[in-house]
Protein backbone atom coordinates (compact mmCIF):
# COMPACT_ATOMS: atom_id res chain seq x y z
CA UNK A 1 0.00 0.00 0.00
CA UNK A 2 2.98 2.24 0.56
CA UNK A 3 3.72 1.92 -3.10
CA UNK A 4 0.26 3.04 -4.05
CA UNK A 5 0.91 6.17 -2.03
CA UNK A 6 4.21 6.68 -3.81
CA UNK A 7 2.35 6.31 -7.08
CA UNK A 8 -0.21 8.93 -6.22
CA UNK A 9 2.38 11.30 -4.80
CA UNK A 10 4.52 10.98 -7.88
CA UNK A 11 1.55 11.49 -10.17
CA UNK A 12 0.62 14.69 -8.38
CA UNK A 13 4.20 15.86 -8.30
CA UNK A 14 4.61 15.17 -11.98
CA UNK A 15 1.47 17.06 -12.84
CA UNK A 16 2.36 19.99 -10.58
CA UNK A 17 5.69 20.21 -12.30
CA UNK A 18 4.71 19.61 -15.83
CA UNK A 19 1.54 21.65 -16.13
CA UNK A 20 2.86 25.13 -15.46
CA UNK A 21 5.78 24.53 -17.77
CA UNK A 22 3.61 23.76 -20.71
CA UNK A 23 0.84 25.94 -19.56
CA UNK A 24 -1.83 24.02 -21.32
CA UNK A 25 -4.50 21.86 -19.88
CA UNK A 26 -4.39 19.95 -23.11
CA UNK A 27 -1.50 17.91 -21.77
CA UNK A 28 -3.72 16.60 -19.04
CA UNK A 29 -6.52 16.16 -21.48
CA UNK A 30 -4.34 14.00 -23.63
CA UNK A 31 -3.30 12.09 -20.58
CA UNK A 32 -6.95 11.47 -19.87
CA UNK A 33 -7.46 10.15 -23.34
CA UNK A 34 -4.27 8.10 -23.13
CA UNK A 35 -6.37 5.00 -22.76
CA UNK A 36 -7.49 5.16 -26.33
CA UNK A 37 -5.50 7.70 -28.25
CA UNK A 38 -2.49 8.21 -26.04
CA UNK A 39 0.02 7.59 -28.77
CA UNK A 40 -0.55 11.03 -30.10
CA UNK A 41 -0.13 12.56 -26.67
CA UNK A 42 3.29 11.04 -26.15
CA UNK A 43 4.34 11.73 -29.69
CA UNK A 44 3.25 15.33 -30.01
CA UNK A 45 4.34 16.40 -26.58
CA UNK A 46 7.67 14.73 -26.27
CA UNK A 47 8.06 15.98 -22.72
CA UNK A 48 4.58 15.19 -21.47
CA UNK A 49 5.94 12.77 -18.92
CA UNK A 50 2.74 11.94 -17.01
CA UNK A 51 0.91 11.42 -20.26
CA UNK A 52 3.65 9.17 -21.52
CA UNK A 53 3.71 7.16 -18.32
CA UNK A 54 -0.04 6.82 -18.25
CA UNK A 55 -0.02 5.80 -21.87
CA UNK A 56 2.56 3.18 -21.11
CA UNK A 57 0.78 1.63 -18.17
CA UNK A 58 -2.80 1.82 -19.38
CA UNK A 59 -4.41 -0.67 -21.65
CA UNK A 60 -4.99 0.19 -25.29
CA UNK A 61 -6.26 -1.25 -28.51
CA UNK A 62 -3.10 -0.41 -30.38
CA UNK A 63 0.04 -2.50 -30.46
CA UNK A 64 3.06 -0.32 -30.76
CA UNK A 65 6.77 -0.56 -30.40
CA UNK A 66 8.09 2.27 -28.31
CA UNK A 67 11.20 3.95 -29.65
CA UNK A 68 13.39 5.80 -27.17
CA UNK A 69 13.16 9.57 -27.78
CA UNK A 70 11.05 9.01 -30.85
CA UNK A 71 7.58 8.26 -32.07
CA UNK A 72 6.37 4.75 -31.31
CA UNK A 73 6.14 2.41 -34.28
CA UNK A 74 2.54 1.44 -34.80
CA UNK A 75 2.21 -2.30 -35.19
CA UNK A 76 -1.51 -2.37 -35.82
CA UNK A 77 -4.84 -2.23 -34.08
CA UNK A 78 -6.09 -5.30 -32.32
CA UNK A 79 -9.32 -6.88 -33.54
CA UNK A 80 -12.60 -5.77 -32.03
CA UNK A 81 -15.03 -8.34 -30.76
CA UNK A 82 -18.33 -7.05 -29.47
CA UNK A 83 -21.11 -9.27 -28.25
CA UNK A 84 -24.41 -7.37 -28.05
CA UNK A 85 -27.09 -8.82 -25.79
CA UNK A 86 -29.78 -7.14 -27.86
CA UNK A 87 -29.89 -5.47 -31.25
CA UNK A 88 -28.00 -2.25 -31.54
CA UNK A 89 -26.57 -2.43 -28.07
CA UNK A 90 -23.04 -2.06 -29.29
CA UNK A 91 -23.29 1.07 -31.36
CA UNK A 92 -20.81 3.63 -30.09
CA UNK A 93 -22.35 6.65 -28.48
CA UNK A 94 -21.09 10.16 -28.81
CA UNK A 95 -20.44 11.94 -25.55
CA UNK A 96 -18.46 15.04 -24.75
CA UNK A 97 -15.37 12.85 -24.17
CA UNK A 98 -15.49 11.49 -27.69
CA UNK A 99 -16.72 8.15 -28.87
CA UNK A 100 -17.51 5.83 -25.96
CA UNK A 101 -18.39 2.19 -26.21
CA UNK A 102 -21.43 1.21 -24.20
CA UNK A 103 -20.60 -0.84 -21.15
CA UNK A 104 -21.84 -4.15 -19.84
CA UNK A 105 -24.76 -2.44 -18.15
CA UNK A 106 -26.08 -1.23 -21.45
CA UNK A 107 -26.00 -4.77 -22.79
CA UNK A 108 -22.76 -4.88 -24.69
CA UNK A 109 -19.97 -7.29 -23.83
CA UNK A 110 -16.73 -5.95 -25.18
CA UNK A 111 -14.44 -8.92 -25.79
CA UNK A 112 -12.00 -6.98 -27.93
CA UNK A 113 -8.37 -7.88 -27.60
CA UNK A 114 -6.18 -5.26 -26.00
CA UNK A 115 -2.50 -4.80 -25.27
CA UNK A 116 -2.83 -6.39 -21.86
CA UNK A 117 -4.87 -9.27 -23.23
CA UNK A 118 -2.13 -9.98 -25.74
CA UNK A 119 0.59 -9.92 -23.09
CA UNK A 120 -1.55 -12.03 -20.82
CA UNK A 121 -1.84 -14.59 -23.61
CA UNK A 122 1.87 -14.28 -24.25
CA UNK A 123 2.76 -15.01 -20.65
CA UNK A 124 0.33 -17.92 -20.54
CA UNK A 125 1.97 -19.33 -23.67
CA UNK A 126 5.42 -18.76 -22.20
CA UNK A 127 4.34 -20.48 -19.03
CA UNK A 128 3.03 -23.48 -20.92
CA UNK A 129 6.17 -23.71 -23.04
CA UNK A 130 8.43 -23.36 -20.01
CA UNK A 131 6.60 -26.02 -18.09
CA UNK A 132 6.37 -28.45 -20.96
CA UNK A 133 9.96 -27.99 -22.12
CA UNK A 134 12.07 -27.41 -19.05
CA UNK A 135 10.35 -29.19 -16.24
CA UNK A 136 11.40 -32.68 -15.37
CA UNK A 137 8.43 -34.85 -16.17
CA UNK A 138 10.22 -38.03 -17.11
CA UNK A 139 9.29 -40.69 -14.62
CA UNK A 140 12.41 -42.71 -15.31
CA UNK A 141 14.60 -39.86 -14.10
CA UNK A 142 13.80 -39.21 -10.50
CA UNK A 143 16.69 -36.79 -10.09
CA UNK A 144 16.13 -33.36 -11.66
CA UNK A 145 18.85 -32.39 -14.11
CA UNK A 146 19.61 -28.91 -15.33
CA UNK A 147 18.84 -25.43 -14.11
CA UNK A 148 15.31 -25.26 -15.51
CA UNK A 149 14.11 -28.49 -13.97
CA UNK A 150 15.71 -27.68 -10.64
CA UNK A 151 14.35 -24.15 -10.52
CA UNK A 152 10.83 -25.21 -11.45
CA UNK A 153 10.92 -28.05 -8.99
CA UNK A 154 12.20 -25.76 -6.26
CA UNK A 155 9.32 -23.34 -6.81
CA UNK A 156 6.79 -26.16 -7.10
CA UNK A 157 7.99 -27.67 -3.86
CA UNK A 158 8.00 -24.28 -2.20
CA UNK A 159 4.36 -23.72 -3.18
CA UNK A 160 3.42 -27.20 -2.09
CA UNK A 161 5.24 -27.31 1.25
CA UNK A 162 5.36 -23.71 2.40
CA UNK A 163 2.06 -22.44 1.04
CA UNK A 164 -0.38 -25.28 0.51
CA UNK A 165 0.52 -27.68 3.27
CA UNK A 166 1.35 -25.05 5.89
CA UNK A 167 -1.79 -23.00 5.32
CA UNK A 168 -4.35 -25.61 4.36
CA UNK A 169 -3.16 -28.71 6.13
CA UNK A 170 -1.57 -32.02 5.28
CA UNK A 171 -4.79 -33.80 4.33
CA UNK A 172 -6.57 -31.11 2.36
CA UNK A 173 -3.52 -29.20 1.15
CA UNK A 174 -2.44 -31.38 -1.79
CA UNK A 175 -5.90 -31.04 -3.36
CA UNK A 176 -5.40 -27.31 -3.91
CA UNK A 177 -1.75 -27.46 -4.95
CA UNK A 178 -2.46 -27.43 -8.73
CA UNK A 179 -4.60 -24.31 -8.40
CA UNK A 180 -2.03 -22.52 -6.24
CA UNK A 181 0.78 -23.52 -8.57
CA UNK A 182 -1.07 -22.22 -11.61
CA UNK A 183 -1.90 -18.96 -9.88
CA UNK A 184 1.67 -18.53 -8.69
CA UNK A 185 3.33 -19.20 -12.01
CA UNK A 186 0.74 -17.35 -14.06
CA UNK A 187 1.13 -14.21 -11.95
CA UNK A 188 4.88 -14.60 -11.85
CA UNK A 189 5.14 -14.85 -15.61
CA UNK A 190 2.88 -11.86 -16.16
CA UNK A 191 4.88 -9.83 -13.63
CA UNK A 192 8.19 -10.81 -15.18
CA UNK A 193 7.02 -10.24 -18.72
CA UNK A 194 6.26 -6.66 -17.80
CA UNK A 195 9.91 -6.14 -16.90
CA UNK A 196 11.08 -7.06 -20.39
CA UNK A 197 11.49 -3.99 -22.59
CA UNK A 198 8.60 -3.39 -25.01
CA UNK A 199 6.37 -5.69 -23.04
CA UNK A 200 3.74 -4.65 -20.57
CA UNK A 201 2.48 -6.05 -17.31
CA UNK A 202 -0.93 -7.61 -17.55
CA UNK A 203 -1.09 -7.74 -13.75
CA UNK A 204 -0.90 -3.94 -13.80
CA UNK A 205 -4.44 -3.99 -15.09
CA UNK A 206 -7.21 -4.20 -12.54
CA UNK A 207 -9.36 -6.43 -14.74
CA UNK A 208 -6.70 -9.14 -14.82
CA UNK A 209 -6.12 -9.10 -11.07
CA UNK A 210 -9.86 -9.02 -10.52
CA UNK A 211 -10.26 -12.13 -12.64
CA UNK A 212 -7.50 -13.87 -10.70
CA UNK A 213 -9.03 -12.86 -7.39
CA UNK A 214 -12.36 -14.13 -8.69
CA UNK A 215 -10.76 -17.53 -9.28
CA UNK A 216 -9.43 -17.56 -5.72
CA UNK A 217 -12.84 -16.47 -4.46
CA UNK A 218 -14.57 -19.31 -6.29
CA UNK A 219 -12.01 -21.86 -5.12
CA UNK A 220 -12.25 -20.57 -1.54
CA UNK A 221 -16.04 -20.80 -1.49
CA UNK A 222 -15.94 -24.22 -3.11
CA UNK A 223 -13.41 -25.36 -0.51
CA UNK A 224 -15.50 -24.15 2.40
CA UNK A 225 -18.70 -25.65 0.99
CA UNK A 226 -16.86 -28.87 0.37
CA UNK A 227 -15.50 -28.92 3.92
CA UNK A 228 -18.58 -27.75 5.82
CA UNK A 229 -21.39 -28.79 3.53
CA UNK A 230 -23.88 -26.31 2.15
CA UNK A 231 -25.69 -26.12 5.51
CA UNK A 232 -22.54 -25.46 7.47
CA UNK A 233 -21.49 -22.90 4.91
CA UNK A 234 -24.75 -20.99 5.20
CA UNK A 235 -24.67 -21.34 8.96
CA UNK A 236 -21.23 -19.81 9.00
CA UNK A 237 -22.57 -16.84 7.08
CA UNK A 238 -24.80 -16.03 10.05
CA UNK A 239 -21.71 -15.67 12.22
CA UNK A 240 -23.04 -18.11 14.77
CA UNK A 241 -24.99 -15.52 16.76
CA UNK A 242 -28.56 -15.37 18.00
CA UNK A 243 -31.16 -15.17 15.20
CA UNK A 244 -32.24 -11.64 16.08
CA UNK A 245 -28.72 -10.47 15.29
CA UNK A 246 -28.74 -12.06 11.84
CA UNK A 247 -29.85 -8.93 9.98
CA UNK A 248 -26.61 -7.33 11.19
CA UNK A 249 -24.31 -10.31 10.92
CA UNK A 250 -25.25 -11.57 7.48
CA UNK A 251 -24.36 -8.37 5.61
CA UNK A 252 -21.14 -8.14 7.61
CA UNK A 253 -20.18 -11.70 6.79
CA UNK A 254 -21.03 -11.28 3.14
CA UNK A 255 -19.02 -8.10 3.07
CA UNK A 256 -16.20 -10.05 4.70
CA UNK A 257 -16.37 -12.60 1.90
CA UNK A 258 -15.82 -9.92 -0.70
CA UNK A 259 -13.13 -7.91 1.05
CA UNK A 260 -10.67 -10.77 0.68
CA UNK A 261 -10.72 -10.94 -3.13
CA UNK A 262 -10.91 -7.17 -3.24
CA UNK A 263 -7.73 -6.95 -1.18
CA UNK A 264 -6.07 -9.49 -3.46
CA UNK A 265 -7.13 -7.51 -6.54
CA UNK A 266 -5.93 -4.17 -5.30
CA UNK A 267 -2.67 -5.42 -3.81
CA UNK A 268 -1.42 -7.06 -6.95
CA UNK A 269 -2.70 -4.35 -9.27
CA UNK A 270 -1.37 -1.42 -7.25
CA UNK A 271 2.01 -3.04 -6.66
CA UNK A 272 2.64 -3.82 -10.29
CA UNK A 273 1.31 -0.52 -11.56
CA UNK A 274 3.14 1.54 -8.97
CA UNK A 275 6.43 -0.17 -9.67
CA UNK A 276 6.24 0.67 -13.34
CA UNK A 277 5.08 4.20 -12.75
CA UNK A 278 7.91 4.86 -10.29
CA UNK A 279 10.39 3.38 -12.72
CA UNK A 280 9.20 5.57 -15.57
CA UNK A 281 8.84 8.62 -13.40
CA UNK A 282 12.46 8.39 -12.30
CA UNK A 283 13.53 8.34 -15.93
CA UNK A 284 10.97 11.00 -16.84
CA UNK A 285 12.55 13.25 -14.24
CA UNK A 286 15.36 13.83 -16.72
CA UNK A 287 12.92 15.31 -19.21
CA UNK A 288 10.85 17.14 -16.62
CA UNK A 289 13.87 18.89 -15.20
CA UNK A 290 15.31 19.26 -18.69
CA UNK A 291 18.88 18.70 -17.66
CA UNK A 292 21.03 15.69 -18.59
CA UNK A 293 22.78 15.85 -15.22
CA UNK A 294 19.64 14.49 -13.59
CA UNK A 295 20.35 11.22 -15.34
CA UNK A 296 23.33 10.68 -13.05
CA UNK A 297 20.90 10.37 -10.17
CA UNK A 298 17.77 9.02 -11.75
CA UNK A 299 19.30 6.26 -13.86
CA UNK A 300 20.93 4.47 -10.90
CA UNK A 301 17.73 4.97 -8.96
CA UNK A 302 15.68 3.56 -11.81
CA UNK A 303 18.07 0.63 -12.02
CA UNK A 304 17.64 -0.03 -8.33
CA UNK A 305 13.87 0.19 -8.71
CA UNK A 306 14.09 -2.22 -11.63
CA UNK A 307 15.92 -4.76 -9.45
CA UNK A 308 13.37 -4.14 -6.75
CA UNK A 309 10.63 -4.79 -9.28
CA UNK A 310 12.23 -8.11 -10.19
CA UNK A 311 12.04 -9.00 -6.53
CA UNK A 312 8.51 -7.62 -6.22
CA UNK A 313 7.43 -9.75 -9.18
CA UNK A 314 8.26 -12.82 -7.13
CA UNK A 315 7.01 -11.40 -3.87
CA UNK A 316 3.62 -10.43 -5.28
CA UNK A 317 3.15 -13.82 -6.90
CA UNK A 318 4.09 -15.34 -3.57
CA UNK A 319 1.78 -13.05 -1.59
CA UNK A 320 -1.17 -13.68 -3.88
CA UNK A 321 -0.66 -17.44 -3.68
CA UNK A 322 -0.01 -17.35 0.04
CA UNK A 323 -3.18 -15.38 0.74
CA UNK A 324 -5.16 -17.65 -1.57
CA UNK A 325 -3.85 -20.63 0.36
CA UNK A 326 -4.66 -18.88 3.63
CA UNK A 327 -8.24 -18.17 2.55
CA UNK A 328 -8.70 -21.73 1.34
CA UNK A 329 -7.21 -22.93 4.62
CA UNK A 330 -9.71 -20.78 6.54
CA UNK A 331 -12.57 -22.25 4.53
CA UNK A 332 -11.33 -25.78 5.12
CA UNK A 333 -10.80 -25.12 8.83
CA UNK A 334 -14.27 -23.62 9.06
CA UNK A 335 -15.67 -26.94 7.91
CA UNK A 336 -13.63 -28.85 10.46
CA UNK A 337 -14.78 -26.62 13.30
CA UNK A 338 -18.38 -26.25 12.15
CA UNK A 339 -19.65 -28.13 15.20
CA UNK A 340 -18.46 -25.63 17.76
CA UNK A 341 -19.52 -22.51 15.90
CA UNK A 342 -19.79 -20.20 18.83
CA UNK A 343 -17.68 -17.13 19.24
CA UNK A 344 -16.77 -14.56 16.73
CA UNK A 345 -15.31 -15.20 13.34
CA UNK A 346 -11.89 -13.64 13.67
CA UNK A 347 -11.13 -15.60 16.79
CA UNK A 348 -12.57 -18.71 15.25
CA UNK A 349 -10.46 -18.54 12.12
CA UNK A 350 -7.37 -17.42 13.95
CA UNK A 351 -7.58 -20.37 16.29
CA UNK A 352 -8.24 -22.80 13.49
CA UNK A 353 -5.36 -21.68 11.34
CA UNK A 354 -3.14 -21.68 14.37
CA UNK A 355 -4.06 -25.27 15.05
CA UNK A 356 -3.23 -26.12 11.49
CA UNK A 357 0.07 -24.37 11.68
CA UNK A 358 0.98 -26.27 14.81
CA UNK A 359 -0.10 -29.57 13.38
CA UNK A 360 2.48 -29.32 10.62
CA UNK A 361 5.49 -28.08 12.46
Amino acid sequence: MRKAMVLIASLFAAVAWASPEHGEAAAGEHGAAAGEHGAAAAGEHGEDVPGYILHHVTDSREMELEVPLGKPIHLGTLPTLLIPFHDGACTPKMTDHGEVMPGLMEGCLDLSLTKHTVFMFASAALLLITMLVWSNRDKTKLVPRGTGANLIEMLVLFVRDELAIKNIGKEEGPRYVPYLLTAFFFILFMNLLGLVPWMSTATGNIAVTLALALCTFIVTQAASIRAAGIGGYLKHLTGGVAPWLWPIMIPVEILGLFTKPFALTMRLFANMLAGHVVLFFLLGLIFILGHPGVAAVSVPFAFAIYLLELFVAFVQAYVFTMLSALFIGMGVAMGHHAHDDHGHEGHHEGGASHDHGRAHH
Partner: protein, 181 residues
Amino acid sequence: MLLPPVLAASSFVSVQPGLIFWTLVTFVIVFFVLRWKAWGPILQLVQEREKQIANAVESAKRERAEAEKLLADQKTAIAEARRQAAEDTRRIQAEMEKFREELMAKSRKEAEELKLSARREIEEQKTKAIAEVRAMAVDLSIEVAGKLINERMDDSKHRALADQFVQGLAPSGTGAVSRTA
Protein backbone atom coordinates in the same frame (compact mmCIF):
# COMPACT_ATOMS: atom_id res chain seq x y z
CA MET B 1 -4.76 21.53 -12.74
CA LEU B 2 -4.88 18.38 -10.66
CA LEU B 3 -8.21 17.16 -11.92
CA PRO B 4 -7.24 15.88 -15.39
CA PRO B 5 -4.59 13.41 -14.15
CA VAL B 6 -6.99 12.13 -11.55
CA LEU B 7 -9.46 11.54 -14.34
CA ALA B 8 -6.68 9.93 -16.30
CA ALA B 9 -5.93 7.70 -13.35
CA SER B 10 -9.51 6.53 -13.51
CA SER B 11 -8.79 5.06 -16.93
CA PHE B 12 -6.72 2.31 -15.40
CA VAL B 13 -9.14 1.84 -12.56
CA SER B 14 -11.94 1.20 -15.03
CA VAL B 15 -12.55 -2.50 -15.29
CA GLN B 16 -12.76 -3.98 -18.76
CA PRO B 17 -15.15 -6.94 -18.74
CA GLY B 18 -13.51 -8.33 -21.86
CA LEU B 19 -10.17 -8.59 -20.15
CA ILE B 20 -11.76 -10.31 -17.15
CA PHE B 21 -13.34 -12.78 -19.51
CA TRP B 22 -10.12 -13.47 -21.39
CA THR B 23 -8.14 -13.77 -18.17
CA LEU B 24 -10.61 -16.27 -16.77
CA VAL B 25 -10.57 -18.29 -19.97
CA THR B 26 -6.79 -18.25 -20.19
CA PHE B 27 -6.41 -19.08 -16.55
CA VAL B 28 -8.77 -22.02 -16.74
CA ILE B 29 -7.09 -23.37 -19.88
CA VAL B 30 -3.62 -22.93 -18.40
CA PHE B 31 -4.81 -24.56 -15.19
CA PHE B 32 -6.16 -27.66 -16.89
CA VAL B 33 -3.28 -28.03 -19.32
CA LEU B 34 -0.69 -27.64 -16.60
CA ARG B 35 -2.52 -29.91 -14.19
CA TRP B 36 -2.64 -32.54 -16.88
CA LYS B 37 0.84 -32.10 -18.33
CA ALA B 38 3.00 -30.51 -15.66
CA TRP B 39 1.78 -30.43 -12.06
CA GLY B 40 0.52 -33.99 -12.05
CA PRO B 41 3.74 -35.54 -13.36
CA ILE B 42 6.00 -33.19 -11.36
CA LEU B 43 4.18 -33.75 -8.09
CA GLN B 44 3.97 -37.47 -8.70
CA LEU B 45 7.67 -37.54 -9.44
CA VAL B 46 8.46 -35.60 -6.31
CA GLN B 47 6.30 -37.87 -4.21
CA GLU B 48 7.89 -40.90 -5.76
CA ARG B 49 11.31 -39.52 -5.00
CA GLU B 50 10.35 -38.63 -1.46
CA LYS B 51 9.03 -42.12 -0.98
CA GLN B 52 12.21 -43.64 -2.36
CA ILE B 53 14.41 -41.44 -0.22
CA ALA B 54 12.35 -42.25 2.85
CA ASN B 55 12.58 -45.94 1.99
CA ALA B 56 16.29 -45.69 1.40
CA VAL B 57 16.84 -43.93 4.70
CA GLU B 58 14.63 -46.43 6.46
CA SER B 59 16.36 -49.43 4.95
CA ALA B 60 19.76 -47.90 5.60
CA LYS B 61 18.79 -47.49 9.22
CA ARG B 62 17.49 -51.04 9.37
CA GLU B 63 20.57 -52.41 7.67
CA ARG B 64 22.80 -50.49 9.99
CA ALA B 65 20.99 -51.86 13.01
CA GLU B 66 21.26 -55.31 11.52
CA ALA B 67 24.94 -54.86 10.83
CA GLU B 68 25.48 -53.66 14.35
CA LYS B 69 23.65 -56.65 15.68
CA LEU B 70 25.73 -58.92 13.47
CA LEU B 71 28.88 -57.20 14.59
CA ALA B 72 27.90 -57.67 18.22
CA ASP B 73 27.15 -61.31 17.49
CA GLN B 74 30.47 -61.74 15.81
CA LYS B 75 32.21 -60.10 18.69
CA THR B 76 30.56 -62.37 21.22
CA ALA B 77 31.30 -65.36 19.00
CA ILE B 78 34.93 -64.38 18.77
CA ALA B 79 35.11 -63.86 22.51
CA GLU B 80 33.45 -67.20 23.04
CA ALA B 81 35.87 -68.91 20.66
CA ARG B 82 38.80 -67.24 22.34
CA ARG B 83 37.54 -68.28 25.73
CA GLN B 84 36.99 -71.81 24.44
CA ALA B 85 40.46 -71.92 23.01
CA ALA B 86 41.98 -70.68 26.24
CA GLU B 87 40.04 -73.23 28.18
CA ASP B 88 41.07 -75.99 25.81
CA THR B 89 44.67 -74.96 26.06
CA ARG B 90 44.44 -74.91 29.79
CA ARG B 91 42.74 -78.26 29.87
CA ILE B 92 45.24 -79.81 27.50
CA GLN B 93 48.09 -78.35 29.45
CA ALA B 94 46.65 -79.75 32.63
CA GLU B 95 46.19 -83.11 30.96
CA MET B 96 49.68 -83.03 29.63
CA GLU B 97 50.96 -82.15 33.03
CA LYS B 98 49.04 -84.98 34.56
CA PHE B 99 50.21 -87.37 31.90
CA ARG B 100 53.77 -86.23 32.36
CA GLU B 101 53.44 -86.68 36.08
CA GLU B 102 52.06 -90.11 35.59
CA LEU B 103 54.74 -90.98 33.15
CA MET B 104 57.39 -89.68 35.48
CA ALA B 105 55.96 -91.56 38.39
CA LYS B 106 55.72 -94.70 36.38
CA SER B 107 59.22 -94.45 35.03
CA ARG B 108 60.52 -93.62 38.47
CA LYS B 109 58.78 -96.64 39.86
CA GLU B 110 60.13 -98.77 37.10
CA ALA B 111 63.60 -97.44 37.64
CA GLU B 112 63.23 -98.16 41.33
CA GLU B 113 62.04 -101.60 40.59
CA LEU B 114 64.88 -102.12 38.18
CA LYS B 115 67.29 -100.86 40.76
CA LEU B 116 65.80 -103.13 43.38
CA SER B 117 65.90 -106.16 41.16
CA ALA B 118 69.44 -105.35 40.15
CA ARG B 119 70.38 -105.02 43.74
CA ARG B 120 68.64 -108.28 44.54
CA GLU B 121 70.43 -109.87 41.66
CA ILE B 122 73.71 -108.47 42.83
CA GLU B 123 72.97 -109.69 46.36
CA GLU B 124 72.04 -113.05 45.05
CA GLN B 125 75.10 -113.25 42.88
CA LYS B 126 77.16 -112.07 45.75
CA THR B 127 75.83 -114.70 48.12
CA LYS B 128 76.14 -117.23 45.35
CA ALA B 129 79.70 -116.17 44.71
CA ILE B 130 80.49 -116.19 48.39
CA ALA B 131 78.98 -119.58 48.70
CA GLU B 132 80.96 -120.77 45.76
CA VAL B 133 84.11 -119.26 47.08
CA ARG B 134 83.43 -120.82 50.42
CA ALA B 135 82.75 -124.16 48.84
CA MET B 136 85.87 -123.84 46.81
CA ALA B 137 87.78 -122.93 49.91
CA VAL B 138 86.41 -125.99 51.71
CA ASP B 139 87.23 -128.18 48.74
CA LEU B 140 90.63 -126.67 48.55
CA SER B 141 91.14 -127.00 52.18
CA ILE B 142 89.87 -130.54 52.10
CA GLU B 143 92.18 -131.28 49.27
CA VAL B 144 94.96 -129.56 51.08
CA ALA B 145 93.93 -131.38 54.14
CA GLY B 146 93.70 -134.66 52.27
CA LYS B 147 97.14 -134.18 50.86
CA LEU B 148 98.41 -133.26 54.21
CA ILE B 149 96.63 -136.23 55.73
CA ASN B 150 97.90 -138.57 53.06
CA GLU B 151 101.45 -137.56 53.61
CA ARG B 152 101.76 -136.95 57.28
CA MET B 153 98.57 -137.83 59.00
CA ASP B 154 100.25 -139.57 61.68
CA ASP B 155 101.95 -136.57 62.80
CA SER B 156 100.01 -135.56 65.83
CA LYS B 157 101.10 -132.03 65.54
CA HIS B 158 99.60 -131.74 62.03
CA ARG B 159 96.41 -133.39 63.06
CA ALA B 160 95.85 -130.86 65.71
CA LEU B 161 96.42 -128.14 63.24
CA ALA B 162 93.85 -129.56 60.86
CA ASP B 163 91.37 -129.92 63.64
CA GLN B 164 91.96 -126.40 64.69
CA PHE B 165 91.47 -125.34 61.13
CA VAL B 166 88.24 -127.13 60.71
CA GLN B 167 87.07 -125.83 64.00
CA GLY B 168 87.79 -122.40 62.83
CA LEU B 169 85.40 -122.74 59.90
CA ALA B 170 81.85 -121.82 60.42
CA PRO B 171 79.11 -124.43 60.70
CA SER B 172 78.15 -123.41 57.18
CA GLY B 173 81.43 -124.83 56.09
CA THR B 174 80.21 -128.19 57.19
CA GLY B 175 77.10 -127.78 55.06
CA ALA B 176 79.17 -126.85 52.09
CA VAL B 177 81.41 -129.69 52.71
CA SER B 178 78.49 -132.05 52.95
CA ARG B 179 76.99 -130.63 49.75
CA THR B 180 80.16 -131.08 47.81
CA ALA B 181 80.66 -134.45 49.36
